[in-house]
Structure formats: structure tokens, C-alpha cells
């Protein structure tokens, strides 16, 4: 196996006295999608945010997070992102007061050419609604904008938190397709609850439980083995296959 693009070792996060992550270690392969699974509240979002350096003020982070030879801890978020770490947050976080076009323009990074054609090809809606204020977009439209925003740039790694949450089935399929294509060129660390999407995209899987890593390995294998899915994710594989 080649060098991982991201390696997390012994990551602990405490937020106002609560020990949320307790020594999480995993790696992200340099190609394809690595999916982070686990039930509500195990700390998936917390993990992603610790990686991009967005742990809240009251929190403490210990352990190591490396991208190649470079340690990510203690570097400010905007540096990390400029260095090619794209992040799509769980609750979309589009700028409600700005127009769609302005939201995109904001995501441009200095020194690179923004790939508007790529974004508009994936989400023609964004082109059409360029002048609408993002706050008045529907949930799904906002999600498209949030994903479109990071795709404007070339990244070394994407962190995407539940991109299909609240999307219509048709859009879920579309987003999945987009992510699939994105993953061809950039590695992705994906948090996702929709197992159909996971099945379609994921190469590797990391399952969290009770603040620790419960399982790592091949994602497809995980989904195929009824016993494993049942014990780790609490669902029978029938449901995985719809």
C-alpha cells in the first residue's frame, strides 16, 4: 500500500470536560473514498473538525494528525485549507446574506484559477441562481452550493460531512455521482449515514464507537458481511441493499 495522504494517530478530543474522542487512529488512502461511519454522537463530526482545526475554544486536542510529513495540529485552519484541505461542514454553512455567486467567489483561493466550469457542469442550478441570496435556497440547493464551493479549487484531500443529508433521492444520486467523479482525482474522507451511498463510493471504512475506532478495513467487505454490519452499524445487510 502506498503512503497514506492523512494519518491520524491517538487523537483525543475533550470538550468542556467531556472526553469525546479517546485515542482514535486511522489513515486515509491517497486515492478513493475513505468513509467514517458510526452512530449519532460518536464523534465523526468532531474528528473532521479536529483535522481542520475547528475544535471549539473550550476543547483540547491531543495526538498527531499528519498530512504527508507535515503535522496539521497547531496550524490555523485557513493555512490548512489553502494548503489543499477542503472541508464541507455538516450543516452546510452557506453565507445566507450573500448571493450564490458571491458564495462561490469567496471560495476562490489566491494564486489558482477557480474551476467554475467544473462546478457549473455538476450543479447547473448554481449558475442559474447566481444572484439569489443563499439563505433563501432550499436545503438541497444549499448543500449543492456547499459542495460546489470546495470543488472550485484543486485539493489534496476533501473532508465531507454528511453531504446527502436532507437531499431528495434524485439529488442524492447526483451528489453521489459527483463525489465519485471527484474521488477519481482527490482522496476523500467522507462521513455518511446513507449506506447506499457508502456502498457506491467507499473503498475503505473506519467505524467509530464510543469514542474509539471499532473497525477499519475494506468498506465493501464491511457492507457484505451481515454479521459485521449488524454488530458495528446495527443494520442488516438487506437494508444496505435496499
Amino acid at each position: 500500500m502506498t503512503e497514506p495522504v492523512l494519518s491520524v494517530a491517538d487523537l483525543s478530543v475533550r470538550i468542556s470536560g467531556l472526553h469525546i474522542l479517546q485515542g482514535v487512529s486511522f489513515t486515509v488512502a491517497p486515492t478513493g473514498v475513505t468513509v467514517l461511519l458510526g452512530r449519532n454522537g460518536v464523534g465523526k463530526t468532531t474528528t473532521l473538525r479536529a483535522i481542520v482545526g475547528l475544535t471549539p475554544r473550550a476543547g483540547e486536542v491531543h495526538g498527531t494528525i499528519r498530512m504527508g510529513a507535515q503535522s496539521l495540529l497547531a496550524r490555523p485552519t485557513h493555512r490548512l485549507v489553502r494548503g489543499g484541505l477542503g472541508y464541507v461542514p455538516e450543516d452546510r454553512c452557506v453565507f445566507a446574506g450573500l448571493t450564490v455567486a458571491e458564495n462561490l467567489r469567496l471560495a476562490e483561493r489566491r494564486g489558482t484559477t477557480p474551476a467554475y466550469d467544473r462546478v457549473y457542469a455538476l450543479f447547473p442550478e448554481l449558475d442559474r441562481r447566481g444572484r439569489q441570496r443563499a439563505g433563501s435556497l432550499s436545503g438541497g440547493q444549499q448543500q449543492m452550493l456547499a459542495i460546489g464551493r470546495v470543488l472550485l479549487n484543486d485539493n489534496r484531500l476533501l473532508l465531507i460531512d454528511e453531504p446527502t443529508k436532507g437531499l431528495a433521492p434524485k439529488v442524492v444520486t447526483e451528489v453521489a455521482e459527483v463525489l465519485e467523479r471527484v474521488a477519481e482525482s482527490v482522496p476523500v474522507l467522507l462521513v455518511e449515514q446513507n449506506l447506499a451511498v457508502v456502498r457506491r463510493l467507499a473503498r475503505d471504512a473506519v467505524v467509530l464507537a464510543a469514542g474509539k475506532v471499532a473497525w477499519t478495513g475494506d468498506a465493501q467487505e464491511l457492507l457484505l458481511e451481515t454479521g459485521l454490519t449488524k454488530s458495528l452499524l446495527g443494520v442488516g445487510s438487506a437494508e444496505v441493499h435496499h
Binding site: 467531556l18 452546510r92 445566507a96 446574506g97 441570496r133 439563505g135 433563501s136 435556497l137 432550499s138 444549499q142
Partner: protein
């Protein structure tokens, strides 16, 4: 879909629910601390203890008692204001108006209309409460910063009216000394300062009791809900407007009562108390103490007033004079020191004075059991 919010006032930092406060030995002592404090306050006028640097004279001297009385009125005032700000999340910039209504109301009714004190007090408190209800009814049609500014606007009108001195009622910028012939003998004169002290203490106790009682009541729970998400409260089937109006009126009434007491303590009214700075200082007191906490606002109010009065003496003290000019000049400006204290307070005890106790407890805990995991 994300709602685009109108500029909202951020809710003040939340109080930790009582279930979460740390237990242990400290936890067992804590409920009794207020009683201890009350006992100290009750015995204080009988003590000849001299605390050099803290008070000018012995504890039972009129000067000390007077200062403490003023401090306690503001402790109560801050606690009442916290009912609005810390517990309901309403940022009013016009609270000084009801306090001023209390002070001027009493003063005018006693001095100009010649009413006996108890009648004047009764009319004033009723009037102040009605005033709060009327203004609240209008102002509460807005939310957030807009609400803050509408209340400020009403208070400003109050300030202008006082300054204009219509019919010589308010005495304009010179203020209106209280005519003590209508006031019971026991509340007049330096030797009776202690009675004013009792009065202030009683006011403080009443306010604290009312605020605790109300915030622990079913209505108090609704108010806490309003602080977090007003729209949600509406969808649960409660009328946010009505609850906010009740809180606003109640706080206004408490402030007016404080005004009555203050008028007696200071022996008159002066336009200082109508200024928007007073409301702002109420806010500072609450934040200094810890909004939405049980004792924070009271402590904040007492400390603020204490500093406000004592820094004047500090600035004039020899210790300050002895410093080189670039230090002694600013330090002899009481407002400079007061301002600097606010700023330092924010950085050294965020969350207000009230957050000190639990944090000290935490600190002690972590010292005893080094880095215990969970």
C-alpha cells in the same frame, strides 16, 4: 432551509443547570452560603471592625453603612435587570428609566406634592410598573437590537424630560433634594443611616427572592426557553409576547422599587440616574457577575458600585500620588481605573464572578486527583 435572521442579540452565556454543578464537600456547603452572607449582613452594623483600605472607617460608621446601602440597592437592581437580560435574553438599554421613575416619582410626590412617604412609595411603584407595562407593550413588538434601541429611545425621552425641568418639577441638571419633612424621623440624619442600610438590605433580599422564585417557576422555564429560541416557544403553544411583557413589567416594577429606596438613601434625585450610561452599567454589572446565575448579578452590582465610589478615594490616595506622573495621572482618574477593571475582568474571569466558584472547585478537584480520566 436556513432562516435569515434579523440582527439578533446573542443570548447571554447560558447558566449551567443546577443538576450539573459539581457536588462534593463544596456542593454541600454551597446552599448555606447565602444564609451565611445574610447573617454577616445582619450583624455588620454592630461591628466596630476596621478594614483599612476597604472602607474609610469602621463597619458601623455611617459612611460605611451608606456606601453599603447604595451598593446593595444596585445589587438588587442588577438582579432585577438580569431577569430581563440573563434569564429571558432581552437586551434592554432603557432599564434606567424605571429606576429613575422610582427616584423622581418618590422625590416629587414627597417634596412637591407633600404626600407622606408610604403613599408616595406606593404610587411610585405602581406607576413605575404601569409605565414599564405600557412601554414594554410597544417595545416588545420588536426583537434583538431593535428592541434594545427602542427601549433606549424611551429612556432618552425620559432623560430629556427630566433635563427640561417642566414646571420646575425635576430641578433639571441640579436635581431635586428630598424634602425630609414628609419622611419618617427614623430615616433622616446621619445617625439613622443604619435604618437606610436595613431598608436597602430588605430591598436586596426581596428582589433576590422574587427573581429566584420566578425563574424557578413554570413561567421562569418559559422565559429560559424564550432566551434560546422564541419561535420554538410559539410553536409549542405559548405566546412569547405575553411572557416577555410579564418579565419586562416585573423587572420594571422591581427597578422602580429600587428607585424609592435609593431616593431615601441619597436624599434626593439627580439627572445622573436617567442617563443611558446607567443602563449600560447595569449591563456591565450583570456581565461582571455572570448573567443568568443566581448570585452573579448581585455580586456584580455590589462590586461595581463599590468600585465606582471607592475608586474616587483610591485616585486621591497618597500611594497613587507617589507614583511617577505617567502612572499617577491616569490612576487618579477613577473612570480610568473602573474601565481598566472591566477589561481585565473579561480576560481574567470570563463568565463573570459567578463562574469563579465552580472553577475554583474544579481547580481544587484537579489538584487533589491529578488528571483523572473518565
Amino acid at each position: 432551509m436556513t432562516e435569515v435572521k434579523s440582527p439578533e442579540v446573542p443570548a447571554p452565556p447560558a447558566a449551567v443547570p443546577s443538576e450539573l454543578t459539581p457536588g462534593g464537600r463544596w456542593g454541600r456547603v454551597r446552599p448555606f452560603l447565602p444564609l451565611v452572607a445574610l447573617a454577616v449582613a445582619l450583624t455588620l452594623p454592630y461591628s466596630t471592625l476596621h478594614l483599612p483600605g476597604i472602607f474609610e472607617g469602621a463597619l458601623n460608621e455611617p459612611g460605611t453603612l451608606q456606601l453599603l446601602a447604595v451598593c446593595m440597592v444596585f445589587g438588587g437592581l442588577a438582579a432585577g435587570y438580569d431577569l430581563l437580560f440573563g434569564r429571558t435574553g432581552m437586551l434592554s438599554f432603557g432599564h434606567a428609566l424605571y429606576f429613575a421613575a422610582g427616584v423622581y416619582g418618590t422625590d416629587i410626590l414627597v417634596t412637591k406634592a407633600g404626600l407622606p412617604l408610604w403613599q408616595a412609595a406606593l404610587f411610585t411603584i405602581t406607576g413605575g410598573t404601569i409605565l414599564a407595562a405600557l412601554i414594554g407593550a410597544v417595545a416588545l413588538r420588536t426583537v434583538g437590537i431593535a428592541f434594545a434601541m427602542v427601549t433606549l429611545a424611551f429612556a432618552q425621552v425620559g432623560a430629556i424630560l427630566v433635563a427640561r425641568d417642566f414646571g420646575g418639577l425635576t430641578g433639571g441638571e441640579e436635581g431635586l433634594p428630598l424634602d425630609v419633612s414628609g419622611v419618617p424621623e427614623a430615616l433622616v440624619g446621619v445617625t439613622n443611616t443604619v435604618n437606610l442600610y436595613w431598608l436597602a438590605l430588605a430591598y436586596l433580599v426581596v428582589v433576590v427572592f422574587v427573581v429566584h422564585r420566578v425563574s424557578g417557576s413554570p413561567t421562569g422555564r418559559v422565559l429560559a426557553g424564550l432566551r434560546d429560541d422564541e419561535r420554538r416557544v410559539g410553536v409549542l403553544g405559548l405566546d412569547p409576547y405575553r411572557f416577555k411583557l410579564v418579565a419586562f413589567t416585573l423587572a420594571g416594577g422591581l427597578a422602580a422599587a429600587g428607585g424609592v429606596v435609593y431616593c431615601l438613601i441619597v436624599g434626593g434625585a439627580s439627572p445622573h440616574i436617567t442617563s443611558s450610561e446607567l443602563t449600560l452599567s447595569l449591563l456591565v454589572m450583570v456581565v461582571l457577575g455572570g448573567p443568568g446565575t443566581r448570585w452573579g448579578p448581585v455580586l456584580g452590582g455590589i462590586l461595581y458600585m463599590y468600585l465606582d465610589h471607592r475608586l474616587v478615594a483610591f485616585g486621591a490616595s497618597e500611594a497613587v500620588d507617589a507614583l511617577p506622573a505617567f502612572l499617577s495621572r491616569p490612576l487618579s482618574q477613577p473612570l480610568f481605573v473602573l474601565g481598566a477593571v472591566f477589561i481585565l475582568a473579561v480576560y481574567f474571569f470570563p463568565g463573570g464572578l459567578a463562574s469563579l466558584a465552580p472553577r475554583l472547585a474544579l481547580l481544587r478537584g484537579s489538584l487533589r486527583i491529578p488528571s483523572r480520566g473518565r
